[in-house]
Amino acid sequence: MPFRLLRFAGASRYPEGRMFRAHETLRPAYDVVVIGAGGHGLAAAYYLARDHGIKNIAVLEKGYIGGGNTGRNTTIIRSNYLTPEGVAFYDESVRLWKDLAADFDLNLFYSTRGHFTLAHTDSAVRTMRWRAEVNKHLGVDSELVGPEDVEKACPQIDLSCGGHAPILGALYHAPGAIARHDAVAWGYGRGADRRGVEIHQKTEVLGIDVRDGRVTGVRTSRGNISTPKVLCAVAGSTPRITNMVDIRTPIYIHPLQAMVTEPMKPWLDPILVSGSLHIYVSQSARGELVMGASLDPYELHSTRSTLDFVEGLAAHMLDMFPFLSHAKINRQWAGMADMTPDFAPIMGKTPLEGFYLDSGWGTWGFKATPVSGKTMAYTVANDRDHPLIEGFRLSRFAEYELTGEKGAASVGH
């Protein structure tokens, strides 16, 4: 008998605890203000409270928590990147992900599936081999495999991809995983809230006060706050905030669309990515195929999605899996991507004292949620860039020392 369900149905008050408290008003001052209650912002607040003893924190969110790109990505977690800085960073993230559900006491539906980046040309095979070697050198489990290994892991695939882009090999990354994106925001949010962090939704930042080259406060739609430290964690909308403090960045915003099919019984175990066909796909715990393709080709500050995106992605999916021709598309949406010239993020201190950036997350931000929270918490608490993020400093562009990860970004560009 479903006693708990019956009790729930008969209750006059909602018996389940909330994930975090609502606060009537903003306090006049905080030690740290985080702009953006996505996975990254909430993770930073969580680690600041848990590891650095800083609890007088406000996380300000214009909409609802996790309503930005945290709720819009295609949930792929991996560390098979190209540069030593990138690999070290994302590998630490995968390590943190594994214990996260236990830390939160919340089911994140974290599922290690194995991740194939398919190579359809000789030059792609060379890039996969390069990535495999860099990964192995840094202790990350990646290797170059042949088409027969792809077929063994995924018998339904058409190795010839419609005849015009045959799979010649793949980069196989065993630790590749997926997780429930919303749950990550809730988990970090609840964990931060339990430790005294205040989460303020429907609170828009209107301006940032600066005096003598340092941050002194934040002006919001619900009142003004004085604070010496502001962490900007609104990737997808970063330029609006950096404009408030006259900081120039290379960030440009393009929409990134995604879609899901109706649920079906489990058949796709691994995560598949194809650079030539510009698609990536996995099957979620709900049985839906979660798919994405390339960035929209022009700047746009909107989360609208289009018919031509669905048509294009469906056509390429049918090249790999012709049997899906009758599968129905259930839903489509988009996020806004903070793109950078080298496809690596922009993190750490800025020329403005007390203003910290966690930005430039482009199409690679979800997998980095735990490690960016941890490294940004260290950076804000110590006013010093964490060693793992030095390769992502804002000044690297003026220094002509880019961290080139375009070859390892799975999203078409």
């Binding site: 330029p239 609006r240 404009n243 120039r248 290379p250 960030i251 080709p297 609208r304 562009f397 003026a398």
Partner: protein
């Protein structure tokens, strides 16, 4: 989208090429100014003058576009006085 020469054509016939940005003189500007030109962008939403290419005819032109509403306000050849 309206190509200034060919008129209204499907959006798929066009290619976006970024906001029009003034280039400093590479022979006289500092490394910092050059890096700023090469890398930095005007990333916030707003109405921008952008380079677009009509791929089918090879014509480059200027489009004034509201990048939040995705509305093209005007298109004209570079150097022409825009009529709106």
């Amino acid at each position: 989208m309206r190509c200034p020469i060919n008129g209204l054509r499907p959006v798929s016939e066009f290619q976006y090429a970024g906001e029009i940005r003034p280039m400093p003189d590479p022979d006289t500007c500092s490394d910092a100014q050059w890096a700023d030109y090469v890398f930095n962008r005007n990333g916030a939403p707003g109405t921008k003058k952008e380079w677009w290419l009509h791929i089918a005819s090879g014509i480059w032109f200027v489009a004034e576009r509201d990048t939040a509403a995705d509305k093209v306000l005007n298109t004209y050849l570079y150097g022409e006085v825009p009529q709106s």
